[in-house]
């Protein structure tokens, strides 16, 4: 079942039945969400619940009583803490603003009104941080229902429009510096819908719901994407058809010089704009791939067109042949070492879309129609590529995969694999968790699915507490080679057994697939064993908990010389043990930098 085939009216009408059917889905991830509202939030929560179920979550909600977001957060935070939410969503709107400046407000006084309003919200966030300690999502404010001063409302210090714009700036500044606080851009959601279609006074006076159903759905859609991003479920790859998708015309028939691209005609401009959109996505970390029914050399000639914004080097994978597209897409997933559930496929041909959608579970195939001028806005509206933050890794990811392709070429020249590894001139920085990398560590725990022994997810707060509680040994690894910096790519988190302090449980061991087969796991083992022995630990206990995606590490501990202790924890779960009393370092191909922190 897929909700995307239902209209909003149908969703509302059939909500309970859809919910019942979605709840029967296997493998839903539990998530607890506290919604603190300035308005009645039930409709929003109902819609969000459906969308989250459709995204593979099984949400449990706590909702504040109408309008009690401040009281619940600041005066009675224990109730929320007891609920143990993974996420608190503070949903307020312009109607909840309490200290707007009077019309007569002077320029000098304006700032104090902004500060006063902001302090009320800061108190909400601070209290939630101190007492609940989980991720907070706060939305900003939509424009006021009426602009009393007309155009002047946006300029005068006594104008509510200007006041709200200033509040939004202040909320953004807070969110930009506080990783616990994520901003939901309600202002943009309302603007896209249109204020006249957003605000509904009858619903406000009758039910204290401030906006239309369309508004609630827009907010729920955006929140669903944010939560997916928090748990690493955003899409990572955009797979593109060529003819009538990236350029107009059929290159095999028309020839590379006749395809529609450039600035000469309105249609050519529209294709150029879509190429620019794809390139912009790539620059923020989305990988691009081509999947086209074409002769490969002819297909590639399209990117040699002088007006083509996209060039061959922008694609991390390129499949142009006459095989079925779903087979090519599966091959691309293998080449890139990424799951197809992180793929979005764009093709103007509805038949190709249907077969790909039907053959590859989990891939997103939006109905983009066949009008290129609409492609970008349709992709945007579905919020496939939502991110909670832009790590440096995101901004350089496409480049990393490019470097990987160069490494693959190099690999073919060597007599044996060790010689190849040596030629990479790898240097690792392996160290205990420290504040610089806390966010990246938490991010990796949430988005790594394949090389992940236990697939335990940690929030930023939980990662931070492993450092402060003194009962954990958490290390990260960064790897640089002659082609570039791979960034922070591996984490091992050990927990000292509370009853037997000579035993370390490896709760987490994960690695980014971009450094597979580089013997980085051996360097990490050296480092964790070294630090464990310093604390008098003699035994490492490793765990493998199988999921649909982590089959590649089934033999991880066996390969590292651990012995099997048990495999009785249910379907395929295994426990492994390694005596490190006389452990000697094993890494041969990676130079490890001197450790800085103990």
């Amino acid at each position: 079942m897929n909700l995307h085939s239902y209209s909003l009216d149908e969703l509302l009408l059939k909500r309970r039945g859809l919910r019942r059917r979605l709840l029967a889905t296997d493998g839903l991830k539990e998530i607890r969400i506290a919604v603190l509202g300035g308005t009645t939030t039930n409709e929003l929560v109902d819609l969000l619940e459906l969308l989250l179920l459709n995204s593979g979550f099984r949400p449990t909600f706590y909702q504040s009583d109408y309008g009690r977001y401040y009281e619940d957060a600041v005066l009675e935070p224990q109730t929320i803490a007891d609920f143990q939410p993974d996420l608190v969503y503070v949903h307020t709107c312009s109607l909840n603003i309490q200290s707007p400046p009077p019309v007569s407000c002077s320029e000098d006084k304006f700032g104090t009104y902004v500060e006063s309003e902001m302090n009320r919200f800061r108190a909400v966030w601070r209290s939630l941080e101190a007492n609940v300690g989980c991720q907070i999502i706060q939305n900003n404010f939509e424009p006021p229902a009426s602009a009393l001063l007309g155009n002047l409302d946006a300029a005068s210090p006594g104008g509510l429009s200007r006041f709200i714009a200033e509040l939004n700036r202040a909320v953004a500044a807070e969110a930009a510096t506080n990783p616990r606080l994520l901003l939901q851009d309600l202002n943009a959601i309302a603007a896209r819908i249109g204020m006249n279609q957003w605000f509904d006074p009858e619903r406000w006076f009758s039910y204290k719901v401030a906006n239309t159903v369309e508004g609630s759905f827009g907010v729920a859609t955006s929140l669903n994407a944010m939560i997916g991003a928090m748990y690493g479920r955003s899409r990572k790859v955009l797979v593109l058809d060529l003819d009538n998708t990236l350029w107009g015309g059929v290159i095999g028939d028309d020839g590379a010089d006749k395809i529609l691209i450039g600035r000469e005609t309105p249609i050519a401009e529209a294709y150029t704009a879509f190429q620019e959109y794809c390139l912009a996505l790539r620059e923020r970390g989305i990988l691009l791939a081509v999947c086209s029914k074409n002769d490969e050399s002819i297909a590639k000639s399209g990117f040699a067109h002088p007006d083509s914004v996209l060039k061959l080097e922008h694609f991390s994978a390129f499949k142009a042949n006459w095989e079925p597209k779903h087979e090519n897409i599966l091959a691309i997933a293998q080449d890139l070492n990424l799951g197809v559930d992180s793929f979005v496929f764009v093709d103007d041909n509805p038949a190709e879309r249907a077969i790909v959608e039907g053959q590859i579970p989990g891939i997103a195939v939006p109905d983009v129609g066949s009008d290129v001028s609409k492609y970008a806005s349709i992709l945007d509206a579905r919020r496939y590529f939502e991110a909670t933050s832009l790590a440096k890794e995101d901004l350089t990811r496409a480049k990393l995969y490019e470097e990987n392709a160069q490494r693959a070429q190099l690999e073919q020249k060597f007599a044996n694999y060790g010689e190849y590894l040596d030629s990479l001139e790898m240097t690792a920085e392996i160290d205990v968790f420290n504040p610089t990398y806390m966010e990246r560590v938490a991010q990796l725990t949430n988005k790594t699915n394949q090389f992940n022994l236990t697939t335990r997810r940690y929030t930023l707060a939980e990662i931070e507490s492993t450092v402060s509680d003194g009962r954990h040994i958490g290390i990260y690894g960064k790897l640089t080679d002659r082609f570039g910096d791979n960034g922070l790519i591996s984490i091992v988190l050990g927990r000292v057994d509370p009853n037997d302090r000579s035993v370390l449980h490896l709760d987490l061991w994960l690695m980014s697939c971009r450094v597979l087969k580089r013997e980085m796991e051996i360097a990490m083992l050296d480092a964790i064993a070294d630090r464990a022995r310093e604390r008098g630990i003699g035994t490492l206990l490793g765990y493998y908990l199988p999921t649909a995606k982590n089959g590649m590490v089934k033999d991880h501990y066996e390969k590292l010389g651990f012995s099997l202790v048990s495999n009785e924890q249910g379907a395929g779960a295994t426990t492994w043990s390694l005596d490190i009393t006389n452990y000697a370092a094993r890494s041969r191909h990676i130079r490890t930098m001197e450790k800085v922190n103990a």
């Binding site: 009216d9 009408l13 309970r16 006074p201 039910y207 159903v213």
Partner: protein, 80 residues
């Protein structure tokens, strides 16, 4: 004008996810299980969407049972 009751009953059945729910003109929030204020919002919204009408604030206050609702829908449809 055709009898709206069967269509309204279908809406109730969908909203309450209760295939065999029977609604009469006398049905109201006190004799239909689950018909609370939240379900009421859903019902009113669903009816407004289906008939492409919008109830005014005062009209909403007057509704006492399903019969009132049907009469009001018919009135709004006739005005269209």
């Amino acid at each position: 004008m055709p009898d709206l009751l069967p269509e309204i009953q279908d809406i109730f059945r969908d909203i309450f996810d209760e295939e065999s729910l029977v609604i009469t003109r006398e049905s109201n929030a006190s004799n239909v299980a689950d018909w609370d204020s939240l379900a009421h919002v859903n019902l009113v919204t669903a009816i407004e969407k289906k008939y492409k009408i919008k109830f005014a604030l005062a009209e909403l206050q007057e509704l006492k049972n399903v019969g009132d609702m049907i009469d009001l829908i018919e009135k709004k449809l006739a005005e269209k």
